[in-house]
Structures are given as structure tokens and as C-alpha cells.
Symmetry: C2
Subunit: 604 residues, 2 copies
């Protein structure tokens, strides 16, 4: 095959191409951010380039003659998607064709992302129909749009009304090269997407402005699937019992997204119809349930998912209350127990491009752990239970107003605490439970086995023994708030699972905790966590505090980034393919490491 | 643009191409029937050609390297869809790559059609999943399928079950390059489509074997939309009253197709899931109602349809009970009153390619009239009412067992008749009504104004006067069967509309009835019609009988042909664009010609 060379100016970047390849493909290969809203269909006319030596390319196509003036063609202006390389070539990229790199801020991180969403809009002024003009409404619109697009039935249904209400000014919304909606007037500024994280316990959504990349509103609700089991195995078992059950869990997942969306919409003056795409990150089991796919083979060898790669479905088919023509993208999953959420975590943090050894722990009811050094990328997940969300803890509660979020224990074993909203306390949220365990350990109230060994006015002998955090007269309920030995045991089980997952990944890569240069603590709960105390109890490796980044919900942030960038979806595909994984329960080291990890104390 | 020449052997056909065009595109332009089931996606590997001078084409692509052996590539075998022309070229088409032209029989006609349906199947044997193989079910299938296909959510839902039930042998069904279904085992022989004619009064379906082109079963029911009006204007008015009404009419149209399909399925051992595409011909108003599109602008100037060109929707979205991934194609419409049914009529008869002046009259509650001579093509339609279906006629009935279908009146005014099933008569079907009017005219019982002027034992003086066709003791009901002057008037109104439509088209083309060389009488009712009697009453032009072809339901036959051939869909698109049309009620000649056409008698 004949290889040719293109030089891209003003970058001076050279790239080898096959004869007959398009300039757009070549630019993509050279990682040059060339705008192309229609994805190379010759529709949007954004990928203008200037060809310095026209004899080295194919002649202008119909699309180019439609979108470029004769003067422009004369000057060598061409559409990169339409122009194929026939010889050694010099191409200039004018400023207006360059994709703008946007700094997308993820809490504690900044990833530079080129804004290239799948969704784009085109505002058009159409001729009014008159007698003798045989075009239908759709033909009129498509002619103005130019080129060959797929047309959704949903886009056509509202078409006559939309065109006439806008007095023949209208805005077409396209997903790649598919027409999915038509609205009256100029609505090009109203273009939103939905980033979604369906966690085992919680559904979080962000409404994202696709023209700026910014989050304009958020919402969160409990995952309604929980009525069929707190943990994911229970839900899978329920889904396997009958196709009706699977459908119900699908519907419940969609309902969760719809409820969270309703909350997010209530805070802004945006209509759900202005949301044209959703990107949904979740673990593999929830991914299957959300897509209505039978999850039964995820749980048994050889652990085969139905769909591994990124998948596009229609929002309507899945029951999401956004634009009737909207699409839903689910990023690729890695394996039965390493899901699209782990991939989203990586995309949000850029862990696959890490320049030094980095560990990510996305704490939740299921915890994802990813370890990478830019060369290798390893992942695992573990069931860490809902203790960090305040469940299964005697006086546990969610991190809402009235929850104790921070705890300090003085040398005399007296307790100071801070509640959310600075009101009288109602209970303990996850971060306070970890604080309590860590401080009790420091003060010798707890031994490394999780037994309360001290005595004093704050200690109620058991079994189970209890440590009083808030006295009866301090609380909003008039009942004391305590931490029991049983609560401590819950935390031990959860933190041991997380630590074991991290440890086994480190073992696979042949590294030690002390080698870790960056430790990301992710997850909604993670935001409240005091990392020093998480180290104190042996939940995370004992690395210096300046190496720790608390980064919030990276799953939903990764979903947002993929909503904004087609390129990041390709990147996610590569991440999912290259990521190595460990199935914890099957790992020979698990049985040795897990019991040790149950001890309370720093692990270096 | 550089023009190059390709010579296709063994045809010796030369065609000019633009540099960079694919051999497949060039072959299409040269009207060479080259197989291409995937539509040029490099998936099916059917478009093999032999390039005699390899230096004049682009090098082999990945798809070619996957689908061709190194030996074949060495010999110059290439895939036409993948190979682009760079210089003067000689290409041989081997026999296995040629599309077979099938003789598709339409009653009274034979069109030669190349079998090229949109739907195709591929049988595959897959590797079983094993530990360490990270592919999901979908990835496994797509790799075996090769190339980049779109994947329907519906196809994925049943995937795990299908692959395992067939022990990793499976058949993929594709609509063009979209995966729409996966079935266990080898089901390549089970591949059906549905040809549909939704008439104003009747819904007719044919189950068509897409591998042979043959009709394997048929079904017909009354159009359930009729509960909201016998004529199409009443239904449009109902639809305009509220979006709910429009939805209801959409649902009723789908219900009609489903009922007719159920009847057709009851006669064969075929499952509805084996039907992967439907092609639906109907007039423009029903086209809009069936697609759920607002029809209000069809009826008012400038008579703009929502969609004019051929349109693809999902069977599931429209509520058709065929394969969940199936598609529905509606052929293009011409104008508000000349629909996809007229286009289907033309496709079935090949009227657009007529070598001599040809007139087609598709008789129904709405009657389509098309006139063409191979140069010009003119169409119109008229509301001819349900009289020919036996409605609005005192003793009228459908053409079912017990209906009188033929009538002769002797010189002594005595009557002979034939009933369907040769049983005692129940009533008169449409053809008998026309026979009766014609014979009464011949025998001087009726005058040209439609008045009964004779006397005798068969005549009951009115008003309205009646002619007794079957005496009380001859009938199954014990009541006499008569034709009233009012019945005759109904027939006059209907036949005058049809004749006026024909006449105005002739006037537009500047021809006379005597110039007509071929007269097609189409429509389910047309099959029973005695053309001599239709001429006698002035319903059709008085042309010699050897020029008349009674061709049955050409709308459903045209739908069948488009189901079988992508190329005919393109042809339909051209027909719809080029067809001229006359809106009868707006035509200045109508008011002169219609009253004259009310007379009973031969029109030459």
C-alpha cells in the first residue's frame, strides 16, 4: 500500500497516511483537533482546511461545492472529510476549524478536553412552501441541511408544527449524522446533555451545557432498585427469576434517573426536552439491568457480558424522560465486576495517562479500585457494603443536615464533634464513623481486633460494648448516639475488602504502598472523608497526605467528559480493552490478605 | 474533476467515473447487477470482481483482507465496494457476483426484478467463550460478522439466549448494515417480508419469501379506521381535532395490518418474528395517519405533506406485530392526493417505462388514475366512494360467498346471474352492480340519465323505482334482491369521477381515448369487473378489449416489488419526483367534464 506524507501547518506536524485516506482521518491520526460536528458526513462544513498543493488531492465533491464558494475552492479551501490524499501534501488548518480545548474542572483535577459532543445543532431559515413546490416539510428541511442524513421517526412527528410555529425558522438537532429533533426558531444555545452515575445505592445526575461543558444543575436519589436487594447480587438473582423481573429492574433504574433528573430540573429553567443525550456510567451488573440485558452470565464462569463495548440506545426505549429522539450512551465495561464506572473514573482522572504510580479508590456500596502507572492499568472491585453510607450502623445516617460529620476524641476520652448544618446531632454519617474508629484506636479505646478495651463514663460494657459519642442531652432525639463494637466490625469488613483489592492490584504490578505517588479518593462519600483517619484504620494505604486527592464523584465526571467528547469515548474503548483486572473472590491471594486486612491500624 | 473510463466484462459496457469513485458505484451507474447485500459496507463480501490492471485502483482494505484469501488478492479479485478507481480500468464480473434477475409475476404482468432486498441474513459459527476471553456476546458476534455495523438495542436483548440455544451457531439478520435480530442456529432460509396495501376500505397483506420473491400467504380485513369515517376526509377531520385522535387513527391503521397479518399467518406455519421488513403502500392521507403524522396541511393550499420521500421507521414504533427489530418502509408520495399507492401501481406495472400510451385505473373507495407514455407520467385520484365494494347500494355486499358477481339480462328482461360459491344469492357485489347497470342500459330499462323507464314484472315503480334481479323465492334470505334508481345514481357519481380523472389526464397530455394502447384495471374489485360493461356505462374509456389488462391489486404488488428490490425503491423515488399530477377539485375543466361524465353510455 502506498504511504504518503501530510504536513499539517501551523503545527508543522507530519503524519504518514495511506493513499486515498481523507485529510480528516489523517488529522485525527495526528491528534490534530479539527472540528467536525457531523462526523465526516459533509454536512456541517466545519472541517475547512487549506490545501497548498491541490494536485495532490481528489477533486471537490458535491458537498464541498454546496458548502464552499467558488472563490474559496479557488483559494484551495477544502473540507477535510471530503478530500482524499493522492500525493505528498501540505495542509493549513485555519483558526476557525480548530477544536477549542476546554479546561474541564473535576473537583481536585483539571482535564483539558476538546469540546466535541455527539449532539450538534443547526439553525436554518427555510423557504415557505408555495403551490407548485412539491417538497414536503422534511424534504425542505433536509435540503437546507444538505447531505444525506438518517432521519428519526420522532423528529418527523413534530416537524410540521415546529416549522410553522417558528415561521420557517427552525433548528435541527443531530446526533452525529442522524436528525433526532427539530425545534421552532433558533435554539442553538439550548443544548444539554445528562451525565449519569447509577450507583448501587445512589443515582446521581448532572445536567451539562454541551456548548460550554459546564454543569448547570445536579440531582441525586436513592437507587429505586434497592427494594429488590441492597447489594447487587440480590438484584441479579431477582432479575434471573423471570423476564418480568428483569424488566422491572430496568424500569426502576430508569425511574431513578428520571427522579434525579426531576430534582435537577427543579432548580433551573431548563426543559427535559432540551436534553438530547445521556451518558450513563455504572457497574457491569447495573449496566446490564439498565439496558434490560440478562445479567445471569456475569456471575458464572467465564463471566461473559452481553455487551462489552460502548453502546448506543434510544432514551425512549429505555424509558428516560428526556427529548423523545435522545440517545443514551453506555461506556464500555471491562468485565463482570469492573464496569463502565471504573472506566469513567479513569477517564475523569486521566489515570491511563498517569506519569507516576497512581491508585484510585472509588468508595461506594461497591468500591472500584484502579492502579496505573501510564504503562499498565489494573482494576478490581469489591462489595464494601453500605456502612459508609450510614447503613448497617446502629446510629448511622446519610450525610444530611443533623449528621455528625467529624469527630475528635481528646486524651481524657471526651468527644468533640461537628454536625452538618451545626445543629443538634441526629446520628453519624460515614466519615464520622471512620473518624470515631480512628480516634478510638488512637486513644486506646479500641484494640486492633475491633474490641473496646477501655473503661470510663463514655463506655457502656456490652456485649456489644458501646462508645458514647453524643450524650442524651446533646442530641436532637434525646437519645444518646453511640458506636458499637458491631458497628466497628461492619467498618472492618468494608475497609478490609477495599484494602485487599488495592493490595492485590499492587502485588500484580509488583509495587508497594510506598511507591504510590498519587492516591485518588473518589465517590460521593469520599468527599467528606478525612484521609488521615482512613489511613489510621487501614482502609487506604498509608501514603503521605500531600499525595492524596479527594476528587468526589469521578464516575459522573467521567460520564460528563464522554458526553462532551467523542474522542474520549474512543479513549474509553481503549481503556476498557487494555485494562487488566482481578476478580477478587477468585484470587488465590485473597484468602491470605483479607483476614490480615481486617486488623485496625496503618498499613504501609 | 478527472474523468476515467471503466470497461465491465463480460458485458463490454463502458462507463465514465470520477477519480476516486468505487467500482460498486460505477457498476450501479452502468446498471450492472452486482450483488451487494450489505450495501457497500465491506461486510457481506458478495461484490467480488476481478481487476485486470491492479495499478489503476486503490490497494486492498482491511475488509478485503478479511474476506478474500491472499491467493484471490494475488489473482486480482477485489471487493467492488472497497476498491476505488484511480485510472482507466478493466473489470470482470464473475458469475457468482451477478444479481439474478427474477421474473416476478404480477397478475396479468411480468416484471423482471433483480432480487435485492434490504434484509439479508448471515449464518455464523462462533467460538465459545472461555476464561481469559474478554469479548462480550455482542463483540463475539460482530467480530464474526466483520466490519462496522450499527446495532439495534432489540437485537442485543435476545442475544445471550440466542447464542447459547444454538450452541454458538447463530444467524444474524441485517437491514442494510444494521444488525436487527439474532437467532439460534441456521435460519437463513426463513426470511420473510410483508407487502401491505392500506386502502381506504380494505387492508391487504402478502407474506413474501425474500429468498424467492414469492407470496406465501395473504390476508385482508376491513380498514378499522372506518369507524371514524368511510371516506378519507372524515378521518382527516377527526385526526385534526386532537393529537389523541391522530394517535388513535395511527393505532387503528396498525391494527388493520396486524389483523390482516394474523389471517395470513393462520394459513401457514410461519412466525410473525420471521418477518423483518414491511413495505406499506397507501394514499397520502392514510400514509400520514399510519405514520402518525399530522395530515392537516394535505387538505389546504399549498397542500404540503410532512414527508414526501420514502421513509424508514421501526415496526415497533408503529405498532406492527412483526419481528421486534423489523423496519417499515413507506414509498414516496407524490402530492396530497396522489400517494404511495399510485407510485406502487406504477412500479408494479412498469408504467413509467411504457413504450406506448398506457392508462391505469386503480379502482377503490379512492381511485388512482395514472397515464403515461414513457416520456410523461400524469396522475390523479378521485373519491369514488364505496359503491364498488357493495356499500351504499341497497342490496350491496362484498365479493364473498353468496354474492351475485355476474348478471345477464335477456331480451325479455329476464335475469340470469352467477353467485360466488354457486349458492342461493344474498346480495350484489360491485361487479354485479356494474353488470346490472350495463345490461339495463343495453335492454333499454335505464336511460342515460339513470332513470328506469321500462315496465314489466321485474320493475317496481318508485320512487325510487327498482329492478328485481333475484326473485323472493330464489334468494337465501327470502327477500328479493333489487337495484334501485338510487343505487344507479351512486354508480353514476362514482364512475363519473373516475372517467373525469382519466379524461383530464388525457387532456393534459393532449391524447384521446382512442390513442390508449394499454388500459390497466387494477384494484381488488377490478379483478371481478367485466371490462365490457365498465365501458358500456362510461366508467372507463371505450378502448378495444384486447388492449385491456385486469391486473388485480397493483398497490400491494408494487409494495412487494419494493420489498424485494432496493433498486426499485430508488426508481419509486424518481417516479414520485417526475410524476405530474392534477388536483381534480381545483381543475378548471372539472366543472365542465364531470356533469357530462354522469351520463351512462360509451365514451370514446
Amino acid at each position: 500500500m502506498r504511504q504518503l506524507r501530510i504536513v499539517f501547518e501551523p503545527y508543522g506536524r507530519r503524519v504518514e497516511v495511506d493513499e486515498g485516506e481523507s485529510i480528516l482521518e489523517a488529522a485525527k491520526r495526528a491528534s490534530i483537533g479539527l472540528r467536525s460536528e457531523c462526523g465526516g458526513m459533509g454536512l456541517c462544513g466545519r472541517c475547512r482546511v487549506i490545501v497548498e498543493n491541490p494536485e495532490a488531492v481528489t477533486p471537490p465533491t458535491d458537498a464541498e461545492r454546496r458548502l464552499l464558494t467558488p472563490e474559496e475552492l479557488e483559494r484551495g479551501v477544502r473540507l477535510a472529510c471530503q478530500t482524499r490524499v493522492l500525493g505528498e501534501l501540505f495542509v493549513s488548518i485555519p483558526p476557525e476549524s480548530r477544536v477549542e480545548a476546554q479546561r474541564i474542572e473535576v473537583k481536585g483535577l483539571r482535564r483539558v478536553v476538546e469540546l466535541e459532543p455527539m449532539i450538534w445543532k443547526l439553525h436554518m431559515k427555510l423557504e415557505k412552501p408555495k403551490l407548485g413546490d412539491r417538497r414536503g416539510d422534511l424534504e425542505r428541511l433536509l435540503e437546507a441541511l444538505g447531505g444525506d442524513v438518517e432521519v428519526d421517526w420522532e423528529a418527523v412527528k413534530g416537524l410540521p408544527e415546529a416549522l410553522r410555529r417558528g415561521d420557517w425558522e427552525a433548528t435541527a438537532t443531530l446526533w452525529g449524522s442522524t436528525l433526532i429533533a427539530v425545534e421552532p426558531g433558533d435554539t442553538t444555545k439550548t443544548i444539554y446533555g445528562l451525565a449519569v452515575d447509577i450507583g448501587t445505592s445512589k443515582v446521581v445526575v448532572q445536567i451539562v451545557d454541551l456548548s460550554t461543558g459546564e454543569v448547570v444543575s445536579t440531582g441525586a436519589v436513592e437507587n429505586p432498585q434497592a427494594i429488590h436487594g441492597e447489594d447487587i447480587m440480590a438484584r441479579m438473582t431477582y432479575a434471573m427469576e423471570s423476564p418480568g423481573n428483569l424488566e422491572e429492574l430496568q424500569r426502576l433504574a430508569a425511574e431513578g434517573v428520571n427522579e434525579a433528573l426531576k430534582e435537577a430540573l427543579s432548580r433551573v429553567t431548563i426543559d427535559g426536552d432540551s436534553i438530547y443525550e445521556a451518558v450513563v456510567a455504572c457497574n457491569t451488573a447495573i449496566h446490564h439491568l439498565f439496558l434490560g440485558l440478562d445479567p445471569r452470565r456475569l456471575a458464572v464462569s467465564p463471566f461473559t457480558p452481553v455487551v462489552r463495548r460502548g453502546f448506543n440506545a434510544k432514551a425512549k426505549d429505555l424509558g428516560l424522560n428526556i427529548n423523545p429522539g435522545a440517545r443514551v450512551y453506555t461506556p464500555p465495561v471491562v468485565a463482570g465486576f469492573v464496569g463502565a464506572d471504573a472506566v469513567a473514573d479513569v477517564i475523569a482522572t486521566g489515570l491511563h495517562e498517569a506519569e507516576e504510580l497512581s491508585l484510585l479508590i472509588d468508595v461506594g456500596t461497591n468500591t472500584e479500585v484502579v492502579l496505573g502507572d501510564g504503562e499498565e492499568l489494573w482494576a478490581s472491585s469489591c462489595a464494601s457494603g453500605p456502612a459508609f453510607e450510614g447503613a448497617h450502623i446502629k446510629d448511622g445516617m446519610r450525610a444530611v443536615r443533623g449528621a455528625i460529620e467529624r469527630i475528635w476524641i481528646d486524651e481524657d476520652l471526651e468527644v468533640r464533634y461537628k454536625t452538618i448544618g451545626d445543629v443538634k446531632p441526629l446520628g453519624l454519617c460515614g466519615s464520622a464513623v471512620i473518624d470515631a474508629v480512628a480516634e478510638m484506636l488512637r486513644r486506646g479505646i479500641l484494640n486492633p481486633h475491633g474490641r473496646i478495651t477501655a473503661e470510663g463514663r463514655r463506655i457502656k460494657p456490652g456485649p456489644p460494648a458501646e462508645f458514647i459519642i453524643a450524650l442524651r442531652d446533646e442530641t436532637a432525639t434525646g437519645r444518646e448516639i453511640t458506636l458499637t463494637e458491631r458497628d466497628v466490625n461492619e467498618i472492618q469488613l468494608a475497609k478490609a475488602a477495599i484494602y485487599t483489592a488495592s493490595k492485590i492490584l499492587m502485588k500484580r504490578m509488583g509495587v508497594e504502598p510506598s511507591d504510590i505517588r498519587l492516591l485518588y479518593i473518589a465517590g460521593a462519600f469520599g468527599s467528606y472523608l478525612n484521609p488521615e483517619n482512613a489511613k489510621e484504620i487501614g482502609m487506604i494505604p498509608d501514603v503521605p497526605s500531600d499525595r492524596i486527592r479527594v476528587v468526589g464523584n469521578t464516575a459522573v465526571e467521567g460520564a460528563r467528559l464522554m458526553l462532551l467528547s467523542k474522542r474520549l469515548r474512543d479513549e474509553a474503548e481503549r481503556v476498557a480493552e487494555e485494562m487488566k483486572y482481578v476478580e477478587l473472590s477468585n484470587d488465590p491471594d485473597f484468602l491470605t490478605l483479607y483476614p490480615r486486612a481486617l486488623y485496625l491500624g496503618r498499613f504501609t
